[in-house]
Symmetry: C2
Subunit: 434 residues, 2 copies
């Protein structure tokens, strides 16, 4: 038995025109048809038809890089140099990190992502088994990986155990519908070339994604050059890590040759514009990356350095910054950033059946409520999504045919319980930190 949903607008993908009064047919986890009322209703008699009314149905968004458990640190330290922020606040408290904090911090972030229309995300942090547990309960989909670095990890301990844990996850989740595992070396300044090489081998063995922070700051490049006499991209290339499975995050400081190289080798990039600005890293050469033909996703980065998990806001910021620095409002368009936040993001994370509302794709969709005062009038549904919508304007979220949020009510998470738990965790953190 199929489900049919309709609304004032359906945005099937950024390559199709917005469909006015469209009807979308869903069979279990997949979209099987899309058309007008006259085309659809006679073909599927006796089906459940849900008319969402004055809304826009669009592909569920993709947050292609974050550290979800860090929501418990949101606002703990602000307007500081990155190294002071890390060394005086984040590292001391992460040294005492508890599995329970990771679980509830993830839940808090899942609430915010669901309310922002995010269906799929990519995470790198510590105690990722707790992240996985929360994601499985929530109904969202994720590519996750335990952060690997040479110094002992607050979660798994010595490096060797990090590889064992990652391989254990790779095996356990090899055919999981909801969870995929990435091999996640942290950076080229926290992992030696030998460690990164082992990560690359492991990702090749399982045909898994290699998820790494790359060329985020000028300090990173200087540090890596000082140690090895080469820029990070050159090292990664020599190790064989630049290929279609690479998810290189940030890439603020890529030069022209490096952009060309990444394009030629089909590597993927995740752009986190707000985090790059807020931490003072700079502005990534997004226009140049797109012109070179690189598939770029959008990420919020961790909520402690953003300070939210709102992909609408990242789409808007990504577009606005490029227009501003190029002094050209045509240089990047709403459809470009929406593509980054939907099917490019999904493909980059290995969920290539998601990100479009077309027959054959997964029924991963979000619903924007056009009755909102700041979404008036509705000349242009695409512009409303990219330039006016915000965290909290999404009324419904469906993933693989199942409602995760319905009429603003999250069905898979008890919001009040999460907020109460996070209040307790805040007190524990403060008592340990000060």
């Amino acid at each position: 038995m199929v489900k049919i949903i309709s609304a004032k607008w359906i945005l099937p993908s950024t390559e199709e025109r917005p469909f006015k009064h469209g009807f979308l047919v869903i069979d279990r986890d997949k979209i099987i048809d899309l058309g007008s009322k006259e085309e659809i209703l006679p073909k599927y008699p006796n089906s459940e038809v849900i008319d969402l009314g004055n809304k826009i149905i669009f592909p569920g968004l993709v947050n292609a890089h974050t550290h979800v458990p860090m929501s418990i640190f949101r606002g703990i330290a602000e307007d500081l140099p990155l190294m002071v922020w890390l060394k005086e606040y984040i590292f001391p408290i992460e040294a005492k990190l508890r599995e329970e904090w990771v679980y509830w911090g993830t839940k808090l972030s899942l609430i915010e992502m669901i309310k922002s229309g995010i269906a799929i995300f990519c995470d790198m942090y510590l105690f990722e088994k707790e992240v996985i547990r929360a994601v499985e309960e929530s109904g969202l989909k994720a590519l996750v990986g335990e952060g690997i670095f040479d110094f002992p990890s607050p979660s798994y301990g010595p490096l060797e155990r990090g590889f064992e844990l990652t391989e254990e996850l790779l095996k356990n989740f090899e055919k999981h519908p909801q969870i995929k595992i990435a091999v996640s070396p942290h950076t080229l300044y926290t992992c030696s070339p030998e460690t990164v090489k082992r990560c690359i081998k492991l990702s090749e063995k399982y045909n898994a994604k290699l998820h790494i922070h790359l060329c985020e700051t000028k300090e990173e490049i200087e540090e890596v050059k000082k140690r090895y006499g080469k820029r990070p991209v050159e090292i990664l290339k020599e190790l064989g890590g630049i290929n279609e499975n690479l998810i290189a995050v940030h890439c603020v400081k890529l030069n022209f040759e490096e952009i060309e190289l990444m394009a030629k080798l089909s590597a993927k990039i995740v752009h986190c514009p707000e985090s790059n600005l807020k931490l003072g890293s700079g502005i990534a050469p997004l226009t140049e990356m797109l012109r070179a033909g690189i598939k770029v996703g959008l990420g919020t980065d961790g909520p402690a350095s953003n300070n939210d998990l709102d992909i609408f806001s990242e789409m808007r910021t990504a577009s606005l910054i490029q227009k501003g620095i190029k002094e050209d409002p045509t240089v990047i368009k709403s459809e470009d950033v929406l593509k980054m936040a939907t099917f490019w993001g999904a493909e980059i994370l290995g969920f290539s059946e998601s990100g479009k509302l077309l027959p054959g794709y997964k029924a991963d969709l979000a619903v924007l409520d056009l009755s909102h005062y700041s979404l008036q009038p509705d000349y242009n549904p695409l512009a409303l999504l990219v330039y006016s919508a915000k965290n909290g304007f999404v009324s419904d979220l469906m993933i693989e045919g199942k409602w995760i949020m319905r009429d603003y009510k999250i069905l898979t998470i008890n919001e009040e319980e999460v907020i109460e738990k996070v209040k307790k965790i805040k007190k524990e953190i403060l008592s340990l930190l000060f």
Copy 2:
């Protein structure tokens, strides 16, 4: 009889520490006291005490530059060069502008501004009497001015009538508590130096603000130099227009000497970071303006080129962009942008009794709801306001001691009626435009 309100946090101004469990005493339109429960309650027995609970009370925000009626054009044309946007879409439809559209467009914007915690704003547009009518009904405060330019206006007709209308408004609203009138020459490329000179004289006669778009784009500077052989600031200086009553909007293309001059002559600047990015104008030298000692306000600019009226978002963007382009997260701090959006903004618009929650100031305040999922945890109320709060997270707004919004319900505007009217206006606009 006084009113006492309290909440988990009160932010009296950016120069005081956030006050935990503070109590604010309001007598009619003014704040008369602020202190702890023990200090306040015995001093004012038998008073009404409202405990707002888990919230932050902060000074009502100031949107120091916008064109509120343009909400009816939101999204009508996107990602276009400024001149195409203006000449093919905005000017043709403005030529047919109706007073009724201005009134309802203003109402729509007022809803959004109230929900964003804005108490005071500054407007320049056409048919400003309709803007004034809507503002008076809403309870907000505004500095408004009819846009003056050499070519015939769709509202008042020939230039001469613009001066008459402005003078009539200046007289009628000279002692109005809620409405102030600015003399508003549009720009130095739409007004001749003679017209600007007359505007300056008129503003001097009434000790009124002079509100002008200045150095927004490189094209503006080129055009003005072509016509007069000088840069806009030089012309304005020679005309005697650079002084403490000047509100110069945008100033994206100010050079070092011009920044020094504006500082020396106590001129005020309004920074509209998102509009400047979105229209491809560039990034204003905010850090340099602040270092030079200029008082700078924050504006959204019109909702058709932003596409919202959210000052939280402008604070965040203003801070993030400076950190990003300077590659220094300490270059501008949360308190700097909050000051711009509160008491500096208020002072720039001539409402210098607003913008702080201290005894002697007007009771203009907004309330941020900390129960929101994306405002967890609350280590730092200032960071939550600037980096995490958004349009829609404000539960209450009070202006001069009167509640304008209470527990998310706007008391002075019928939201549904406005949205219905704007839907009709959209149809009228489309029928005239295409």
